[in-house]
């Protein structure tokens, strides 16, 4: 009960608080918060919005999961951005050029994505484990390097091809697609959602039920205690960042294998940073991240709908920012409150116990 309260109350309050602040901001700018709310809610039922939300949430879930794995170890993998983009680019090139039979082609593309993500994360991992280089700095740098590398890889004279004013990798043939669930005019749900769900379950199992998950959490909570308990901190850093990178490497694939079939200049960017926000929102918990990803995707799509009716879409950026900020603050407040309450509860129970044993402890003394 306590846990449920800690996990749910804080974000719920934060969302309500942020929504209220945004309503005030809307009123000040002369727009009606009620109209905005109505548009945001009704858009879900229109066209492909519901499916789009689900699809975006699946992508967000992957990036947030990648960030969360690092967070468990107090490692700040800002490089998810570069990892997923480079992985998607290389996976698209492999998928579009290497001839392979169906199913196997899809599997190879997915494996390449994970591998490239992991390899790109291996650089900061090794630097951190063996040279103590802050992974924050190295991953930021590598994001820039990844951008340059992608620009090179998709040049028309390397692996790319010109398509109008755009550059694109060779399209992945039908045999490499990940079939989705077609819902007619409501859109197509990415088939990769199944992979995402499996990863979420795997993450939950790994964290709570395995020795590795325990060592991961212990290292994150107290590196010194983990070391004393026989956990090899260096190995944990390496594995955690490699896993983070591998999951990040999958994040570009739902779109690649389910809709775009090629990596282009205009392929989406910025998921890595969204992932950080959602991992914070979801508190690194597999279910929390799922809720956070859905909320984030919903707000993203709302921005499009609001823009069409003339409400400034920036209001949703403000709202997303406010939610993250207030959730983090709220978690901390609730966490402290819960800890204090637990200490009181323990003390009270012990006192009751002691009084039951010795009705008048004072009487024994002097």
């Amino acid at each position: 009960m306590t846990r449920v309260r800690t996990v749910l109350v804080a974000p719920a309050l934060a969302v309500v608080f942020s929504a209220l602040l945004c309503a005030v901001a809307l009123l000040i700018s002369g727009d009606s918060p009620l109209t905005a709310l109505r548009v945001m809610i009704t858009q879900v039922g229109q066209g492909t919005t519901a499916v789009d939300i689900l699809n975006s949430a699946a992508i967000y879930y992957l990036v947030a999961l990648a960030v969360a794995i690092g967070f468990q170890m107090k490692l700040f993998n800002i490089g998810v951005e570069g990892q997923y983009r480079l992985a998607a680019c290389v996976a698209a090139i492999v998928g579009g050029t290497v001839p392979l039979p169906p199913v196997i082609r899809t599997i190879v593309i997915i494996l390449v994505g994970a591998l490239v993500g992991a390899l790109w994360a291996a650089i900061p991992a090794v630097l951190r484990a063996y040279r103590g280089v802050s992974e924050v700095i190295s991953t930021i740098m590598l994001n820039a390097v990844a951008t340059g590398l992608i620009a090179f890889l998709i040049r028309p004279d390397t692996f790319g091809a010109l398509s109008g004013n755009n550059i694109t990798t060779p399209p992945i043939p039908e045999s490499g697609h990940f079939p989705g669930l077609h819902l007619g005019s409501s859109g197509t749900i990415f088939g990769m959602i199944l992979v995402v769900a499996a990863l979420g379950t795997g993450y939950w199992f790994l964290l709570g039920r395995t020795r590795f998950g325990f060592e991961l959490k212990a290292s994150g909570e107290s590196p010194s205690a983990a070391t004393a308990g026989g956990v090899d901190a260096r190995r944990m850093v390496l594995i955690a960042l490699l896993m983070s990178g591998a999951v990040a490497g999958l994040a570009g694939l739902p779109e690649l294998l389910g809709r775009d079939y090629a990596y282009t200049l205009t392929s989406p960017q910025g998921y890595g940073f969204t992932g950080i926000a959602i991992a914070l929102l979801g508190r690194n918990h597999p279910v929390g991240i799922a809720i956070g990803a859905l909320l984030w995707a919903f707000l993203d799509k709302s921005a499009v709908a609001l823009d069409v009716v003339g409400v400034p879409r920036e209001i949703l950026l403000i709202m997303q920012g406010l939610i993250v900020l207030s959730v983090v603050v709220a978690y901390e407040i609730v966490r402290r409150y819960e800890l204090a309450a637990e200490q009181r509860r323990v003390a009270a129970q012990l006192r009751a116990l002691a009084n039951a044993k010795a009705p008048s402890p004072e009487g024994v003394s002097s």
Binding site: R211, F212, A225, G230, L350
Partner: protein
Amino acid sequence: MTASGNSGAGPGGSTAGEWAVELAGITKRFPGVVANSDIHLRVRTGEVHALCGENGAGKSTLMKILYGMQPPDEGTITVDGRQVRFRSPADAIRAGIGMVHQHFMLADNLTVAENVLLGAEASHGIGAKARARIQELAGTVGLRVDPGMLVERLGVADRQRLEILKVLYRGARTVILDEPTAVLVPQEVDDLFDTLRTMRADGYTFLFISHKLDEVRAIADTITVIRRGTTVGTADPKAVSSRQLAEMMVGSELPTPETRESTVTDREVLTVSQLSLAADDGGRHVLEDVSLVVHAGEVLGIAGVEGNGQTELVETIMGMRRGAHGTITLGGRDISHASTLHRREAGIGYVPEDRTRHGLLASQPLWANRILGHQSRPPIARGPLIDRAAARRDTERIVADFDVRTPGVDVHAAALSGGNQQKLVVGRELSGDPVLLIASHPTRGVDVGAQTGIWEELRQARARGLAVLLISADLDELIGLSDSIAVILRGRLVATADPSTVTPEELGTAMTGAGSGPNLAKEGS
């Protein structure tokens, strides 16, 4: 013994009404195990007033209230007859109250004078006037070093005097000393007390927090005892014995840490030979040619002033520090290069000196803390998986066997009191039938009740044939529990002693390298 109600009518009968500090009805509801409730304490101007109580009795909270670090929920503070309300330590300092913390707050890379002036530039500037004042106060506190000397070159005792100097420089007339003797060897304690007596004659007032009762009786004019967050009475140190005082603190019969009959066998469990370790910065050795043997059923005590290599010795044996030369064998097996986990799996249990840093995961439940260090062994591990049910069951066993006071195994480790946390750690480290237990300060910061329990567990394990390497700053504990004692000084084992004959004073002498007594044998001779 005079357990005389609340406010103490102190001894001595000097001019009445001269109260430096009066605390009345102080109550603090605090999200901890012990809060302050209705505390009354009066400190006469120009006396050394000792505040005694077990760990967790509420001494620290009370001092934090008096020093302005926390506001009381109820009650009043009166300083020199004026009622005051402190919002921060700055307010307390302005009222003439200073505090010397147990852990020094000095900047190693600054000089003595700079440390004093840091943050107090306003009182006498930073020029000649300030230097003169520092010189004058250095005489008062007995600090006989050049003010231009770097603090990193100062010994522990001098650092403590510097801390006192700092608070005097800021105008304190009443000084709170939090466990000042914990870091000192017996001779240094005597020196400190001499200084305090001189300063008392100069009119300074001291509030002396300690649980070392012999020392309290040696220095204090008045003793106030608190238990479970409230004052249980005041006592005249001349009229009360340490044992009586302790019973006031604990409210029950006191235990002694004596092991009765010897259980030492000739089976070598841990053999350390010629162990050397360079400091992290690659400079001097923090361990040099350390050789020792612990037999089954034996407790080997390591005595030494803190910072002489005990921590490094323990962490090297545990495999937490790498790069050492020499060999470590456990039960005949060379483990010099094994990982910490392999050493644990080979049967080493480890009670670290700092349980919050090295022993526990504060925000994890107790059962998860049971896993730490045992994550690869039954009953916790099943291949790569963790058997949560088994972890819970075994935690419940520890809670029952080691008398861990907790409502259940699902509470977070941080919710337990220090003593109960330590019992959990000891219980965990004695799980899985270890052959060797390394116990660093196993009863530090633990109340007397828990202390007795832990001693008893160590004795029983020793009787079952466990080898124990015991590191402790508490010489009574060391002498009481050990079958043999080695003294460590600047990374070397310099002497051995027989605990059945050696006195704390002799040990203290050896610990400072000042020489050897009749009951000490020079190492290697």
